[in-house]
Amino acid sequence: MTAVLQTAPVEAVPNYRVSLRKFTRNKLAVAGLAVVLLFLLFCFVGPLLHSTDQTHTDLGQVNLAPGGAHWLGTDAVGHDELGRLMYGGKVSLLVGLAAGILATVIGTLWGAAAGYAGGWVDAVMMRVVDAGIAIPALFILLVVSAITTPDTAGLILVLGLVSWLVPSRLVRAETLTLKSRDYVLTLRATGGTHTRAITRHILPNSVSTIVVAATFQVADAILLVAYVSYLGLGVQPPKTDWGGMLSAGLTAAYSGRWWLIVPPGLAIILVVCAFNAIGDGLRDAFDVRGRG
């Protein structure tokens, strides 16, 4: 007589659920997500609740301390600082998000193409990346800002074009390992095209790397736009962003007008840290090591 060992059937848990569970258990990542969502609400919904004139100056209301009419005071030309923080945040977040996504898209396509093609094509494409990384992004930004009039679309384009290098390296490395997998080799052996191999197998399997890179790219882009604006080469008045606000308020650092410096400085720090926390959370969530 043979004893038959019977085991209860195990229900397979989808990968995304595992990832989601891991992400939600990461308190820092959840806090980061909450901060980003709060800032998005603050900047895009806030102006509907706290309506201010951010186009015209009011020289009769300059440098007012925080108080009843102006919760965060006013700046050197009479703009309500709370409204300005929302107005500037729109530009910072919009530019950061769009430039981060643009950089990730460019980097992904470049890295996937290089890694998949291999050989001299890979060598040439990655030397281009190496050369690009060797030139400081800030330097390129300053040169471009000096010869063109920066606007929101222009900043997104320029930041996207100088920030794709790191994601391209990450995606290339991922592609190099994926392209030798059996399912890719089988596709090629059965007549599948290179494009199909990249779009149907390599990119979908690299998505975790891409998403994580994207969050870090957004954080980096927000910092970069702050740098450029701080140097006076960001969006032009009456528009502003957090970096520009910081720059404008810097002269007040020793005059006790903290409300011109602390809010935009804090906003930059919080949002950049939040995106980094989200990125870390996502990376841990997508990490297959340790999964049961």
């Binding site: 720059s247 002269t251 020793y254 930059i268």
Partner: protein, 579 residues
């Protein structure tokens, strides 16, 4: 969190903190001065780079000139160092200037002066300068066609201490002294002469290009001024030490003068706070920190400049030139700018409204009552009326020409009153002023866009041009954070507003004004300058803007005995520690 991201986060925090507190900037890191020395802060981002007392375009800077004039005294020091703009005889080689009755020549008498090597300063040293400039005038930064040396027809040395310069016609003696003869620097002919003026020019300019040799090259050791160079670094720090052989009227009050360069105004301000600068500056926006500097043993003293500030229109701009040529349009723009409030609020009281081509920060006999009384007081409603009565109507918040016959010649129906300024970057005060002007013009219905660039970039991108040139796209230019134009002592507009004048960037042209400008340089009466002042206050060749102080000086208590020269030169020999 990965180490790389941790570093990035730390970087973000540190950077933001740095942004909040100071910004990244360099300083010269010098020690505090004693009573035998003084540390003077040069303007931010300026590095002294020329010792020769003959400026060339590439090295033209008032601070270079100030340094050169402490080594080689000018023939006639016509400046504001005595408290008013006048001939400072104590700081001049010349002792007297006697104009002929017909004002067509001048006889100069030299003082009894000597070079540092003991040789006397003679007419030959002046003639040496005269010949050098005549032969190389195109390379000389002070050259304006038709003016010196073109209008000096001859130089005659009467003896060692007397010479006569003859002019091509009669000139105003005051103008000739203040704006032309003051350009002459007697030079040590016995040391510098290389045979011909051309050869000498090349030799001196080549030698002057070697900044590292300024303290050691024997060429620069024969001087006439109160100081000599002790060291001159390529990084910009200059140490001057008293010339013991100096026999002029301005004996050095402090034996050693350290001129310190700074990369940014913030770096300079930090040096002031740390006490390493004795004579420095702060920005207008920092004026509310006056008490903190006073508590540190400093005196805060505005330095008013003999300058005007303005925004030139490009009358040849293909899109807006025709609009700019309409006086009513310029009046509408000028009436939209509230200079009084700008001066009080944005400039923190460190500027005065300017309504015309003559500086208004100091009282002078050149200022007309028309300019002084502001012919176009601020009123956006009046500005709006000016436009609507000339065929413009507000559409979507922007004035649009609806009747080309009324709008004026060349202004097509449908033209929108939209203009862009290329403005100097790097100054919060300027940014704030531009924002306020933008806001104010918007109320009139004029769209005013702002583009910023470093001042050198502004100047290179807004040159004189013709409509067909691609560079002529600029519409308005602003390069006047510390004043747009510093005059010689006599504020004529020959290069600014005369047709084809060298610095008439916007190509303004009016034959009647040309005549007034010519009259102002030839008439012996100030009436001509006043008429010119009134004409341009009314005709608005540029947008007149508040005239800021040259700088807000911060001086250690006890430093005194001098007036800050409104011509923006500094005179170290006059500085003294009084306590």
């Amino acid at each position: 969190m990965s180490p790389a991201r941790t570093r990035l986060l730390a970087g973000a925090v540190v950077c933001a903190g740095t942004l909040v507190l100071a910004g990244c900037s360099g300083s010269s890191g010098t020690s505090s001065a004693s009573k035998d020395s003084i540390n003077y802060a040069l303007p931010a981002n300026f590095t002294p780079n020329w010792i020769l007392p003959i400026g060339t375009a590439a090295h033209l800077n008032t601070n270079n000139i100030s340094i050169a004039n402490t080594l080689w005294e000018p023939l006639i020091a016509y400046d504001g160092s005595t408290g008013k703009i006048a001939w400072n005889k104590a700081g001049s080689i010349a002792a007297a200037a006697d104009f002929a009755a017909d004002n067509k020549s001048v006889k100069i008498t030299l003082g009894d002066r000597h070079w540092s090597d003991g040789k006397p300063i003679t007419s030959k040293d002046v003639e040496f300068w005269f010949d050098l400039i005549k032969a190389n005038k195109a390379q000389w930064a002070g050259y304006n066609p038709g003016k010196a040396p073109d209008n000096w027809t001859s130089f005659k040395a009467d003896d060692d201490t007397h010479f006569t310069i003859t002019f091509d016609k009669a000139y105003s003696p005051q103008w000739m002294l203040a704006n032309e003869l003051s350009l002459i620097n007697p030079l040590p002919q016995h040391v510098w002469d290389k045979g011909t003026p051309k050869a000498t020019w090349t030799y001196l300019n080549n030698a002057a290009k070697n900044i590292g040799g300024y303290a050691t090259n024997p060429l620069w050791k024969t001087i006439s001024g109160p100081y000599r160079v002790k060291s001159f670094s390529t990084a910009g720090k200059v140490v001057l030490t008293a010339n013991k052989k100096y026999d002029g009227g301005e004996k050095p009050g402090i034996p050693t003068v350290n001129l310190l360069p700074f990369t940014t105004a913030d770096a300079e301000k930090n040096a002031l706070r740390s006490g390493t600068v004795d004579y420095g500056y702060i920005e207008a926006t920092d004026l509310d920190q006056k008490d903190s500097f006073t508590a540190r043993g400093y005196e805060v003293k505005p330095w008013s400049g003999w300058a005007i500030t303005y925004m030139p229109y490009n009358f040849n701009n293909p899109a807006m030139g025709a609009v700019f040529k309409q006086l009513y349009a310029r009046q509408a723009v000028q009436r939209s700018i509230d200079q009084t409030t700008l001066a009080k609020v944005v400039f923190n009281g460190t500027a005065v409204p300017g309504y015309g081509p003559v500086p208004q920060a100091q009282s002078s006999d050149f200022l007309s009552s028309t300019q002084k009384d502001n012919p176009y007081p601020f009123s956006t409603s009046a500005a709006k009326s000016l436009l609507t009565s000339h065929g413009w109507a507000e559409q979507g918040g922007v004035m649009t020409c609806t009747d080309s016959a009324k709008c004026g010649e060349g202004v097509a129906k449908g033209t929108k009153f939209e203009m862009t300024v290329l403005s100097q970057s790097g100054s919060t005060v300027t940014d704030n002023m531009m924002s306020a002007i933008q806001s104010s013009l918007a109320k009139t219905g004029i769209k005013f866009s702002i583009k910023t660039a470093p001042v050198n970039s502004v100047l290179s991108q807004t040159p004189q041009c013709t409509a067909s040139q691609s560079i002529c796209k600029w519409q308005l230019s602003f390069f006047g954070t510390a004043g747009s134009w510093y005059f010689n002592a006599f504020p004529t507009g020959d290069s600014l507003f005369q047709t084809k004048g060298g610095s008439n960037f916007g190509n303004y042209s009016d034959p009647a004004v040309d005549k007034l400008i010519t009259a102002s340089t030839t008439s012996s009466s100030n009436q001509a300058v006043q008429e010119y002042s009134a004409a341009l206050a009314k005709d608005l060749p540029v947008i007149w803007l508040p005239e800021p102080d040259y700088q807000i000086s911060v001086m250690k208590n006890g430093l005194g005995g001098f007036s800050q020269d409104s011509l923006a030169n500094f005179h170290p020999a006059q500085w003294k520690w009084t306590s």
